[in-house]
Amino acid sequence: MLMAIIIMGGVAFFFSTVLVIADKKLRVEVDPRIEEIAALLPQANCGGCGFPGCKGYATAIVMNGAPVGKCAPSGAEVNEAIGRIMGVEVSERVRRVVRVHCRGAESVAARKALYVGIPSCQAVSMVQSGDKLCDWGCLGYGDCAKACPFGGITLGENGLPQVNEEVCTGCGLCVASCPKKILQLHGIDERVIVACRSEDPPKQAKSSCANACIGCGICARACPEAVEVKNHLACVKDPGGFSDECIAKLEKCPTGAIGPVDQGKAEALRAEGA
């Protein structure tokens, strides 16, 4: 009995000594800031920063000097806190959200053929470049909703994606998932959106979708500083160039392709300090 205790105790002492020495000799220095920063990040692992997950981004910031403030889901506070840890100034950045550049709902944008197959925008767009008459419009199979890790996109009854701007972190995963580039990132305070991507000539655009931009140029004449027409499509060239009166004039758009974004919602979000 006594012998067993001595042997077991001796073995335990021997190995613990080895472990203590190993711990001292073979220690790998980990920068404690990595853990600190990783703890601050949202752990959504969305990849929107361009690094493999939150831990990956934290490591990149500390070890490779990746720029602070790339994490879209974290608000300004978190980015500032990371800036304090790293001792760098983080420039104030406007919160970005994703917005839908198509109003071709089921009722106004006809489909050219009956599609039978994989229910995914990516797959449909590989067949006859989509089943809608409009080659530019939203196909409505919801690849964006599947791509959003935050549940911020739902498919509305009209077949178009609806973005919950309060949930949207601007990570950009849905932007990458959309084969038609319908979803694009915008600063939260941008007031006007061109909700169409069709560069078809006016006649064709109108025949394929009642809400399509026909490139008539009324908007460009109303807000010459902010809007221009390129390839039969109105484009916002300067999001800051809209005045209140010129936004009011945009109501004249014959198809409603260009118009103000829902300002009530945007105001509420700004008031939250997001």
Binding site: K112, V116, I118, Q122, M126, Q128, S129
Partner: protein, 444 residues
């Protein structure tokens, strides 16, 4: 003697009785002709004309860009209405030359053959003429023929295989060609054999074309290096890898091409085009095709100018009949569904099928692991595993299971009792795989 064949495959009903007795008719294109500049495998051709230009028959309108590419020529005389993107029957918009046909068919005066007889051509002249004529494989894949005729220097080619299998149901254009143009095709085959320095010519014809086998066997009697052989009527017997396996018992390696086993395969339609072009100097501006299916009034075999609209051809065949459900370019197994009949015939259009009645297939069910797809895949792949991986977003991993070896013949989807769109998933997976590969390459 038992007909030769490959392992696995399927036996769809061939429906060839609809059109196989009808001789090839020449049809004129309509008032408006649309000629895509990208009709072949490889880089698109670059436009040489602009709006308002006057064109003559055979005039080059698109210049080949790069080694794997083919020039494009005008099939009519008339005026260029526009050079703009139009929907091509391959399912995407490509740059096209839209021409108003003046019905004069005035031929470009510079068109004349290099030599009087096809026998006088040297190998280099054959390659150059074929390349300049814009000839591509007319079996359906539209791979530039001049590239096939220029195998790497260190590769000896010992056999030319003539593909007369025509395994897709409904299609009978090659069947008619082999009956009506046997001598021309054989002369062109001889020119090709001489060009690549091969010793033998093997002709593979499916058993369901008994009249062709009889005719050709008589024609080649006494020519020791030409072998006409019956191959089993089985889909996809006309796939080049399947045909090589059946006729020569050689297996094309993974990711390889027929020249890796010393063979080049030419479709009989392609050879007919080679003959025409070498003897007249006229580039490839027309091709044979079959219009068939239960949705068209008069199924026919036609010789059609490239750029003729589907709608004009269907009208010429008596128009639609019954409850038309879909229009396909190509055969029912590999053909591409069309969303409109306002698309032009291109070099790859081997047929136009108009289907009436209910669409095949049905509600999709989960895979029950029956292994039918694996038991029938002529490439020896495991389609269900490949597709499961693609569905799980693991296109990179499915490459290890042969994703990129799949030739999309449609055999697996044909036999799948759960109606899983296996081929569509494979195509989807290939696109995802290329995207992922590009992303990894850009990251280094």
């Amino acid at each position: 003697m038992r007909a030769k064949t490959f392992a696995k495959g399927v036996h769809p009903w061939d429906f060839k009785e609809l059109s196989k007795q009808r001789p090839t008719e020449v049809v004129k294109p309509g008032k408006r002709v649309v000629i895509p500049l990208h009709q072949h495998t490889g880089a698109p051709a670059e436009p040489l004309v602009k709006k308002g230009d006057r064109l003559l028959v055979g005039q080059k309108i698109g210049e080949a860009k790069g080694f794997i590419s083919a020039p494009v020529h005008s099939s009519v005389s008339g005026t260029v209405l526009s050079v703009a993107p139009f929907l091509s029957p391959v399912g995407r918009k490509v740059l096209c030359v839209e021409i108003e046909n003046d019905d004069g068919y005035e031929v470009n005066p510079s068109i004349r053959p290099c030599h009087e007889g096809i026998e006088e051509y040297t190998p280099q002249e054959v390659r150059e003429s074929v390349r300049e004529a814009g000839i591509v494989g007319l079996g359906g894949a539209a791979f530039p023929t001049a590239v096939k005729l220029s195998p790497p220097k260190d590769q000896t080619i010992d056999a030319v295989v003539l593909n007369g299998a025509e395994c897709e149901p409904y299609l009978t254009t090659d069947h008619r060609l082999m009956l009506e143009r046997a001598d021309e095709i054989l002369k062109a085959a001889e020119a090709v054999r001489m060009t690549v320095g091969a010793k033998e010519i093997h002709v593979g014809i499916e058993e369901n074309k008994g009249d062709v086998i009889d005719l050709w066997s008589r024609k080649v009697k006494g020519i020791p290096h030409v072998h006409v052989e019956a191959v089993k009527t089985k889909y996809p017997q006309g796939g080049e890898k399947m045909l090589i396996k059946a006729l020569l018992n050689r297996e094309v390696p993974c990711g390889g091409l027929p020249f890796n086993v010393g063979v080049i395969v030419q479709n009989v339609g392609t050879l007919n085009a080679v003959y025409d072009s070498l003897t007249t100097g006229m580039p490839l501006i027309k091709r044979g095709l079959t219009i068939s299916g239960d949705g068209v009034a008069k199924p026919s075999n036609l010789e059609v100018s490239i750029g003729t609209l589907f709608s004009d051809l269907i009208e010429g065949c008596g128009g639609y009949k019954g409850d038309v459900n879909r229009v396909l370019m190509g055969g029912p197994m590999m053909g591409i569904s069309q969303s409109t009949d306002q698309v032009p015939v291109i070099k790859a259009t081997s047929g136009i099928l108009v289907m009436a009645g209910a669409a095949p297939g049905g509600k999709e069910y989960p895979c029950i692991g029956c292994n039918s797809c694996t038991n029938h895949c002529p490439m020896g792949l495991v389609p269900t595993t490949i597709v499961s991986l693609v569905r799980a977003g693991k296109a990179m991993e499915s490459k290890d299971w042969g994703l990129t070896d799949c030739m999309e013949c449609g055999t697996c989807a044909f036999v799948c009792p759960a109606h899983i769109p296996l081929v569509q998933w494979v195509r989807y997976g290939k696109a995802e795989y290329l995207k992922e590969k590009k992303r990894l390459e850009s990251q280094g």
